[in-house]
C-alpha cells in the first residue's frame, strides 16, 4: 500500500472566461519513507500540486489516497485525520511563521491541535527537542520569528513540521534564496532527518543538484503535467527532451558542454498548445506531437516518460 497516491489530479481556475489549467491530470505515488523530488520551472504547477496534496484546495477532478484511504470525498472528519499525518515546510518560511507568536508557540501548534492530551509540560519538552533536532537552541522558544535569519526561519518551519512526527512531510523550495553555505547545511540536515525519522519527504524544487542529494526518485512537471519520472540513478540519462534541457541548463563547472538552450517561453496556462504541450519548444518534435498528447508510459522499471520518442 502506498503512503500517498494521486490519480488524475486536476486543478482548473476560471478567470474572466479563461480556464487556467494549473495542474492537469497528475498521477503521483509515494511509498513509505521514500524521498520523492518534484522538479519544474515557475508556473509549472508544482506549488498548486502541493496545495492539492495538503488539502488546502480541492482538486477539480481526480482522487487522492493516503495509505489506501480516499481523501477528497468524505467530510471534515477524514480531512482532520489526514492533517495529522501530513505536514509541510512552505517556500517562504518567513511568511509561514505568524509574526505575533513566539517560536515555541509556532512549533507547538501541531501538538496543540493533534495531541492536546499530552499536556503543556510534555508539549514544551517535545518542542524543545524538535528545535534541537533542527539545530536550534531550546531557549529559542521564547524568541520571535523576526529575530532569526532566513536559514534559521526554515529550520523553525521544519521543526513545526517534525514535531508531531508525521509520516509525510512536503517541502517547497527549501533552499531557494539562501547562501550556498546555508543551503549546504540545510541539505545535510534534511538528509540526516531522512535517516533518523520514519517520515517520507516530497521535495518541490527547481534545483536538480539538491534533488540528486536528497531524493531517490524525481518527477519532472511541465505545464501542469508530469512529463517524466525516473530514479535518481538514471537522472543523467533522461528520455524526455525537457528533462534533458533542464539537465543541460545546470551550471556545469567541470564539464562545460555546449549549452543546450530551450527556445521560447513556457506556454500560457490559459491556452496550452494542442498535442504535446512541450512541442513548440522541442528540438526533436515530429508531426505527431502537434496533434496527439503523449501519455506517461513506463519505459523501464521505475522510469516513465511522456514522449513519443521514448515509447
Amino acid at each position: 500500500m502506498n503512503l500517498l497516491e494521486g490519480h488524475g489530479l486536476r486543478k482548473y481556475y476560471h478567470r474572466r472566461g479563461y480556464q487556467i489549467q494549473a495542474v492537469d491530470g497528475v498521477d503521483i505515488s509515494m511509498k513509505e519513507h521514500e524521498a520523492l523530488g518534484l522538479v519544474g520551472e515557475s508556473g509549472s504547477g508544482k506549488s498548486t500540486l502541493m496545495r492539492l496534496l495538503l488539502l488546502l484546495e480541492r482538486p477539480s477532478a481526480g482522487d487522492l489516497y493516503f495509505r489506501g484511504g480516499k481523501l477528497n470525498s468524505g467530510g471534515a472528519q477524514r480531512w482532520s485525520h489526514f492533517r495529522r499525518e501530513v505536514q509541510a515546510v512552505f517556500q517562504d518560511a518567513a511568511a509561514s511563521l505568524n509574526p505575533r507568536l513566539s517560536v515555541g508557540r509556532i512549533v507547538a501548534e501541531p501538538l496543540l491541535n493533534f495531541g492536546p492530551e499530552l499536556g503543556s509540560h510534555r508539549i514544551d519538552e517535545r518542542v524543545a527537542a524538535a528545535l534541537e533536532r533542527v539545530g536550534l537552541q531550546r531557549d529559542d522558544r521564547r524568541r520571535y520569528p523576526h529575530e532569526f535569519s532566513g536559514g534559521q526561519q526554515r529550520r523553525i518551519a521544519l521543526a513545526r513540521a517534525l514535531v508531531a512526527d508525521p509520516p509525510l512531510i512536503l517541502c517547497d523550495e527549501i533552499t531557494s534564496g539562501l547562501d550556498l553555505s546555508v543551503q549546504a547545511k540545510l541539505l545535510n540536515l534534511f538528509r540526516d532527518l531522512q535517516e533518523e525519522s520514519r517520515a517520507g519527504f516530497l521535495f518541490i524544487s527547481h534545483d536538480l543538484g539538491a534533488m540528486r542529494y536528497l531524493c531517490s526518485r524525481v518527477a519532472v512537471i511541465y505545464a501542469g503535467k508530469i512529463v517524466e519520472e525516473l530514479p535518481v540513478s538514471s537522472l543523467e540519462q533522461p528520455l524526455h527532451p525537457y528533462t534533458q534541457a533542464l539537465l543541460a541548463a545546470e551550471a556545469q563547472l567541470f564539464a562545460p558542454s555546449e549549452m543546450y538552450l530551450l527556445e521560447g517561453e513556457p506556454p500560457d496556462p490559459a491556452a496550452y498548445p494542442a498535442g504535446c504541450r512541450f512541442h513548440p519548444r522541442c528540438p526533436i518534435r515530429m508531426k505527431r506531437c502537434t496533434e496527439e498528447s503523449p501519455r506517461l508510459t513506463t519505459v523501464r522499471v521505475g522510469h516513465r516518460a511522456a514522449c513519443f520518442t521514448a515509447h
Binding site: R51, L54, L56, A76, S80, R83, R84, V86, Q87, A88, F90, D92, A95, S96, L97, N98, P99, R100, L101, E109, P110, N113, F114, Y144, H146, A157, R160
Partner: protein, 294 residues
C-alpha cells in the same frame, strides 16, 4: 514604542488630558466638595469662589462638583458604548471576512444600510422609537458605531486570510474558531485599539449631543451636554455655566484625538510586525460623529 510616543508633544498632551480625565472620573466622590444633585434655590447662581470653586448653577448646585461627576457619567457611558461596539463589531467583521459568501453578504449589507443614514438622524429615529433615556441613547450609539469596526476588521481579515502562515496553521491542524483566535485576532487588535481611542472622543461628543437634546441623560444626573442645555436661559447673564461644560467636552475630544493619533504613529510604521499596509484603514474612522449640539 513608548519612547517614541512620549517624545511627541501632541501625544504627550493627549495622554495627560485623558489621564487627568480618567482620574477625575474615578475619584469624583473624593474630589467633589458637594453632592452634585440636590437643589438649593437659596444658593442659585452664586459667583465662583469660596465654598463653590466654580459657583452654582440655576438650581443652586455646585458647578465644580457637577463637572467632576459629569466626567464620570460622560466618560463612563461612552466607555460602555465602546465595549458593546467592540463586542459586536469585531466578531461581525471576523465572521464576514473569514466566512465570506452569504454571511459576509448579510453582515455587510446591514452595515451599508446603517451607513446610509446620517448618524444623527439614525440616532434620533432609534430614540424616537425607544423613548429618551441613558440606556436607549447608549443603545442608539452602539447600533451606529459597531459598523465601522465590522468594516475595518473585515478588511484586515481579508488581507490576513491569504497569508502563508494561515495556510501553515491549517496544515498544522488549526481551523475555524481556533484559527481565528490564535492567528487572525492578534493581528486585528492593534489597529482596532487605535480606532477605539479615536472613537471614544467622538462617542463623548455624540453622547453629550443627545443629552443636550434631552434624549440622553435625564435630570438630575450631572452630564456635560445636559448642563449646557440647562444653562441656556443664562447664556447672556452667566455664560460660564455654558462655557465650562462646553470646554470640558471640547478638551475631552481633543485629548482622545491626540492620544489616538499618537498611538497610531507610535504603533504603525515599523513598531509592530502586523499588517502595516492596513494603515489607511485606521485613518478612516467612520464613527458616529454627531455634528451640532455641543
Amino acid at each position: 514604542m513608548g519612547h517614541r510616543f512620549l517624545r511627541d508633544p501632541a501625544s504627550l498632551t493627549g495622554f495627560l488630558i485623558v489621564g487627568l480625565l480618567l482620574l477625575t472620573a474615578l475619584f469624583a466622590p473624593l474630589l467633589a466638595p458637594h453632592d452634585p444633585e440636590p437643589v438649593s434655590l437659596a444658593e442659585r447662581l452664586l459667583a465662583p469662589g469660596g465654598e463653590y470653586p466654580l459657583g452654582t448653577d440655576g438650581l443652586g448646585r455646585c458647578l465644580f462638583s457637577r463637572m467632576l461627576y459629569g466626567a464620570r457619567v460622560t466618560l463612563g457611558y461612552a466607555f460602555v458604548v465602546l465595549m458593546v461596539t467592540l463586542f459586536v463589531g469585531i466578531p461581525a467583521g471576523l465572521l464576514a471576512g473569514y466566512c465570506g459568501g452569504f454571511i459576509d453578504g448579510v453582515i455587510m449589507r446591514l452595515v451599508d444600510i446603517i451607513l446610509a443614514f446620517p448618524n444623527l438622524v439614525f440616532a434620533l429615529v432609534v430614540l424616537g422609537i425607544l423613548g429618551p433615556g441613558l440606556l436607549n441613547a447608549m443603545l442608539a450609539l452602539a447600533m451606529l458605531s459597531w459598523v465601522s469596526y465590522a468594516r475595518i476588521v473585515r478588511g484586515i481579515v481579508l488581507s490576513i486570510k491569504e497569508k502563508e502562515y494561515i495556510a501553515a496553521a491549517r496544515v498544522s491542524g488549526s481551523r475555524g474558531f481556533v484559527l481565528i483566535w490564535r492567528h487572525v485576532l492578534p493581528n486585528v487588535l492593534p489597529p482596532v485599539a487605535i480606532l477605539a481611542t479615536l472613537d471614544l472622543g467622538k462617542l463623548v461628543l455624540a453622547f453629550s449631543t443627545l443629552s443636550f437634546l434631552g434624549l440622553g441623560a435625564q435630570p438630575p444626573t450631572p452630564e456635560w451636554g445636559m448642563m449646557i442645555n440647562d444653562a441656556r436661559p443664562f447664556m447672556q447673564t452667566f455664560p460660564r455655566l455654558m462655557i465650562i461644560p462646553g470646554a470640558a467636552i471640547a478638551l475631552t475630544v481633543l485629548g482622545f484625538n491626540l492620544l489616538g493619533d499618537g498611538l497610531r504613529d507610535a504603533l504603525d510604521p515599523q513598531g509592530y510586525a502586523g499588517p502595516a499596509d492596513r494603515r489607511e484603514e485606521t485613518r478612516l474612522p467612520n464613527a458616529p460623529a454627531l455634528k451640532g449640539g455641543a
